[in-house]
């Protein structure tokens, strides 16, 4: 054992009171730091699990014409998202990008529902190809009533969170098509007036658009769902089949894209002389006839094209991107944006935090607050330790002066002080870290849950699940090392000023 280390070790025992004060501060500081870091890691992990893996993916493609990035929760207004103009070309980029594991094109926006009394309700819809949605976010939703709509089927999955407020606005109680009314799920006022309850299994809605160029469409409710995590937040969104969304918002649909024109039709549409459109009768000869037709025949003639077109051919205003494991979202975003710019596609990739706007900002703020709290604790600890060590140095001036007088260099005296502080840090800090890990596991085991949205962000989900990782341990050691180093700096300066003469002057 080195001489300086030996003296330092014994001095800790000799000055038990001071050592205990410093030790307790280090213990409490590292304990809180460990729990705080565990909370932050838990929050980040929870965010990743509950937002990235269940709802947004790592990155989101939006149109370059979109002014603000908060295209999801943040942009819940009537102003629709800009349609991605070059989706076909962007799709080629996404499919060829080796950093991307999967992607899901989607549409997001508001629709209005008007009841018989002209009372208006609204809901946010996420229009998706259900097969691709389930492949991209397999654990995202739980069907609580009815069933999900099938691929190619028109259908709406109502969120449990929306069902009640929707009833409050338009007094429609939505149940899935073909399902019996479950009275136990009704709100109290609906139960009290069952005779007048308006139960619906489909909904006529109209896309919200500033251009007022939307249309009414009727969509059957196939099921009721809830999101598996952060349901209070994501529950604002109901899922709808992509074609219904497109029609409601007057987007180009997959069916539109699938229309095959004959050579004559193509030539006619290409003409610059509009008179030609009405000049001949040949073009519509097969449709316009002098024979009368039945209503059924007319309905069949004008019904929607179904099934035999590619849903992916229509319009989108979003695309969720899931990156391969271990890929940095920042690096991937930079790379993909580079390709988009290079090809002049007028689309851009944004992070999930930007996309969820206020939610992402709040997560960053909560994390910053926790970090600030930890820094504050360490700052206070540092000041107290610094003061205690400086006092200890001054009290031992005569002893340290004697050591200098009989030939000890400044470095030796300093190494003694550093050893003393390092020993205290190692022992009490280590104890604090171990206790912190125990507290983290106890908190995790306690399964504390909340329905409060803000607390859900702090928890990273509905249940408080702090986690302690290897990098948290290294971060803890680093923070402890920094505190030890900074706490001992001023006492070392004090010690450095002690001269051999102090050995006799203080006698």
């Amino acid at each position: 054992m080195g001489l300086a280390f030996k003296i330092a070790w014994r001095n800790i025992g000799r000055h038990k009171g001071k050592s205990l004060v410093i030790g307790m501060i280090l213990f409490i500081g590292t304990l809180l730091m460990t729990v705080g870091n565990g909370m932050i890691s838990g929050m980040e992990h929870g965010m990743s699990e509950n937002i990235v893996k269940l709802f947004t993916g790592d990155l989101i493609v939006i149109s370059d014409e979109q002014e603000k990035n908060d295209v999801l929760i943040g942009s819940m207004s009537a102003k629709p998202l800009k349609v991605i103009k070059n989706y076909e070309a962007a799709k080629v980029v996404l499919e060829n990008e080796e950093l991307i594991a999967d992607y899901l094109p989607a549409t997001s926006g508001l629709v209005y529902v008007l009841n018989d009394r002209s009372e208006m309700g609204s809901m946010y819809l996420l229009g998706v190809d259900i097969d691709r949605y389930r492949r991209m976010f397999p654990d995202s939703i739980q069907i609580t009533e009815g069933r999900p709509f099938e691929a190619g089927e028109r259908g709406l999955l109502i969120s449990e969170e929306i069902r009640k407020p929707f009833y409050d606005f338009v007094e429609y109680w939505l149940i899935p098509e073909g399902e019996e009314l479950d009275e136990s799920k009704l709100p109290e006022d609906a139960k009290a007036d069952l005779a007048n309850l308006d139960v619906r299994s489909d909904l006529v809605f109209m896309g919200a658009s500033v251009a007022n160029s939307t249309m009414d469409i009727r969509v059957p409710v196939t099921g009721v769902m809830k999101y598996k995590a952060l349901n209070k937040i994501w529950g604002s969104y109901c899922l709808v089949d992509i074609e219904s969304f497109r029609e409601a918002h007057n987007y180009v649909t997959g069916a539109d894209s699938a229309v095959d024109l004959s050579e004559a039709e193509a030539d006619l549409l290409a003409t610059e002389n509009l008179e030609d459109l009405f000049a001949g009768g040949d073009l519509f000869a097969d449709v316009i006839t002098e024979e009368s037709i039945t209503l059924e025949e007319l309905q069949q003639e004008t019904t929607r094209a179904s099934g035999d077109y590619d849903l992916d051919d229509g319009s989108y205003n979003l695309a969720f991107i899931k990156l391969k494991k271990g890929v940095s979202p920042q690096a991937a975003a930079a790379k993909i944006n580079g390709v988009f710019q290079e090809q002049g596609l007028e689309v851009r990739v944004i992070s999930w935090k930007d996309a969820v706007g206020i939610i992402g900002n709040m997560a960053v703020m909560v994390k910053a607050a926790l970090n600030l709290f930890i820094m504050f604790i360490f700052f206070v600890a540092m000041i107290i330790i610094m003061n205690t060590l400086s006092m200890a140095a001054l009290e031992r001036t005569s002893e340290l002066g004697m050591m200098r007088a009989i030939g000890a260099r400044k470095g030796f005296i300093r190494s003694m002080f550093v050893s003393e502080t390092a020993l205290l840090s190692f022992f009490f800090g280590g104890l604090g870290i171990i206790s912190g890990i125990v507290v983290i596991y106890l908190l995790r085991a306690a399964g504390i849950s909340t329905t409060n949205e803000i607390l859900q962000l702090v928890y990273g989900g509905e249940t408080l699940s702090p986690v302690y990782t290897g990098s948290d341990f290294l971060l803890g050691l680093f923070e402890l090392g920094i505190v030890t180093f900074l706490s001992v700096l001023y006492p070392l300066r004090v010690v450095g000023r002690i001269v051999p003469l102090d050995a006799v002057v203080r006698e």
């Binding site: 001095n11 000799r14 004697m402 009989i406 030939g407 050995a503 006799v504």
Partner: protein, 226 residues
Amino acid sequence: MNVIEIQGLIKDYPLGKTTVHALRGIDFSVEEGAFLSIVGPSGSGKTTLLNIIGCIDQPTAGQVKIQNQEISALKEKEITDLRLHKIGFIFQSFNLIPVLNVRENVEFPLLLMKNKRTAEVNARVEQLIEAVGLRDYIEHKPAELSGGQRQRVAIARALVGNPDIVLADEPTANLDSETSDSILQLMKELNEVEKTTFIFSTHDPEVLKYAAKIVKIRDGMLVEQE
């Protein structure tokens, strides 16, 4: 051969608006192996003179040579090494390291000299502990020793590195007369055995009977050499 040579030594201490003239121009030399006592009343400058000779204080003016080496020309680290290798100190209040036992206190300077072999250190430490009569107290901490025993430890520590000079500032001031006699007797014996130069300050006339040479100072000036 002179181990210490002092010429025109002046030491002033600023004290507020006035200046205290602690040493007012002292000239004297000390021969190798001497057992010299610096005597004078309190405030005469004895301690200041010893501190400057021991390189723990610096003169305002004048020259101090230790083994023909002018100490004012040395850098801080060189002065520290000079104190470690050539000078031993015995303090009035013993100044032992409280957390180390007798053996560890004595071997402390040797451990600061990094190139010493363990066997060599152990032999020298045991030899000196034996010489100062503390074999039975080797594992005792300073708090478990009497004043006289502590000063014996300090003497052993001062001599352990084979210094050329041992400086003792009023080494018996905190001891009773019987213990003082035994300490001075021990110093005298070690001076003869180790051939180390001893310089000690005192204002006790009883102590003077042990000194081979006496330097008397008063008001910072040398008044007599015997």
